[in-house]
């Protein structure tokens, strides 16, 4: 079936259980799908845009109230919707980083954080990870001290991912923020893998900026995200234009410079809004999703030779696993070679793994029903048994 001349219908989530590491938290709710149907046209949220003509002030649909709800949801003072978490990083970086400024990231930071620092001439410096792949408050403190010695100034900004994209490990966010605050360093909390799937309280954490990815974790179309800030930082990050055109003498109202005016003007925003009541509710059930994830991890670890690369016990549904000693031993002699695992999973209706990967790979179990979680756990073990692997536990 085609959507257009050459675009196949995408039915992966209708046909299969999707365990793609980056897709599961962004799957739309029914209400978001309905909003997408009704608001697919370009500037669809602008029908009732009135002076002072700014996205976050539109009352119908209730975009203004949604912005307030977003800030409350994250226990921050102000929020704006942005085209993905990366644009949230960019807005903060654009506000604070000047050429040559040292900026702290971590050894597990996402590449878009590096790009946002680079874009403004900052020098990205990493906090070392522990042998267990955890970013600790002690390591952050040591790095801050070393930057101070080397650059004669503290880092201009510190980015910390609550859970990283490589291992899905939890890092010492609160402790790291405390250390940063002791050194007057503003902190950007990257909640790409938390905001929208588990409770996040920005004020309690002490963050200056909370960034979330709506298309990754808030059941929204891409690109969408949120940047929430404290009152003090709002005046800086959400500063309004002062520009005046030299010939025409035009000015540009109260458009916000870092937002480039309005951000999500259509389907992305209404999708995010339509999912929001469900997202606000689903974060309360994080522990249940986590318990399903742990059950699947346990099932995989029961296959002899399988090693968990992420921290244990799991604190997130995103997990990195090493099956070099199990599924990869099958791949060495299987006629489909490394593709046998993806193929076997697809035959059982499980999708989202990297084709050909049988050594180290990632998966995410978020959003499964209990029945789907049990099915997935059994499917992994059935494939192992069918291919002569021993399932010990």
């Amino acid at each position: 079936m085609k959507c257009g001349l050459s675009i196949d219908v995408r039915d992966i989530d209708e046909i299969a259980i999707n365990i793609d590491p980056i897709q599961v938290g962004g799957r739309l709710t029914a209400d978001a799908m309905k909003a997408v149907i009704a608001y697919g046209d370009g500037y669809s949220v602008c029908d009732n845009c009135r002076k002072p003509n700014r996205l976050d002030m539109i009352k119908s649909p209730p975009i203004d109230a949604f912005h307030r709800d977003l800030a409350t949801f994250l226990n921050m003072d102000e929020a704006r919707v942005v085209p993905g978490a990366r644009r949230g990083f960019q807005a903060v970086a654009g506000t604070y980083i000047e050429k040559g400024d040292p900026v702290l990231l971590t050894a597990l930071s996402h590449y878009t954080e590096f790009l946002s620092v680079e874009a403004y001439g900052g020098i990205p410096l990493e906090i070392q990870k522990s042998p267990e792949n955890i970013i600790t408050a002690d390591a952050a403190g040591e790095k801050i001290d070393s930057v101070q010695r080397e650059y004669g100034q503290p880092p201009k900004l510190l980015y910390i991912d609550h859970f990283d994209y490589q291992f899905g490990n939890e890092h010492e966010v609160k402790g790291i923020i405390k250390v940063a605050k002791q050194n007057d360093i503003p902190v950007l909390y990257n909640g790409a893998y938390t905001v929208g799937i588990m409770p996040v309280d920005g004020r309690e954490l002490g963050a200056d900026f909370v960034v979330g990815s709506a298309h990754k974790s808030m059941a929204s179309p891409a690109p969408s995200g949120v940047l929430a800030v404290t009152k003090e930082r709002a005046e800086e990050v959400f500063r309004t234009t002062k520009a005046q055109a030299d010939l025409t003498k035009r000015t540009f109202g109260i458009k916000e410079v870092e937002m480039m005016g309005c951000t999500l003007m259509g389907v992305t925003l209404v999708g995010m809004m339509a999912s929001f009541p469900h997202v606000r509710e689903r974060v309360k059930h994080w522990e249940h999703h986590l318990s399903n994830g742990r059950m699947i991890v346990d099932a995989l670890l029961a296959i002899d030779g399988t090693v968990l690369k992420s921290e244990n016990p799991r604190k997130h549904t995103l997990t990195r696993i090493d099956t070099t000693g199990s599924f990869d031993t099958v791949a060495r002699t299987h006629k489909k070679r490394g593709f046998f695992l993806t193929s076997a999973l697809r035959e059982k209706g499980i999708a989202g793994t990297i084709p050909g990967a049988t050594k180290v790979w990632k998966f995410n179990t978020y959003g499964m029903t209990d029945a789907q979680a049990h099915y997935t756990a059994k499917a992994f073990q059935d494939i192992a048994l069918l291919n002569g692997l021993h399932v010990s536990r």
């Binding site: 989530d13 299969a16 709710t29 799908m33 149907i37 209706g349 029903t369 029945a371």
Partner: protein, 60 residues
């Protein structure tokens, strides 16, 4: 042609969306329990009503 036809088209697409989500929730085997089958039956009945309105407004 009328607002009624427009409303019915949206309503029909929304009902189909509800069915789509049940397919997602029950993938890959799509073995529906009794409650889910009842929801599907009600949704299809409502969908048929909307299709009838569309037919009446746009064809007859």
């Amino acid at each position: 042609m009328s607002k009624r036809a427009v409303d019915s088209i949206f309503q029909a697409m929304f009902l189909l969306t509800d069915l789509r989500v049940i397919l997602r929730d029950t993938a890959p085997v799509h073995e529906l329990d009794e409650d889910q089958r009842a929801i599907v039956a009600r949704t299809i009945a409502a969908l048929e009503e909307q299709v009838n309105v569309i037919r009446k407004e746009m064809v007859e």
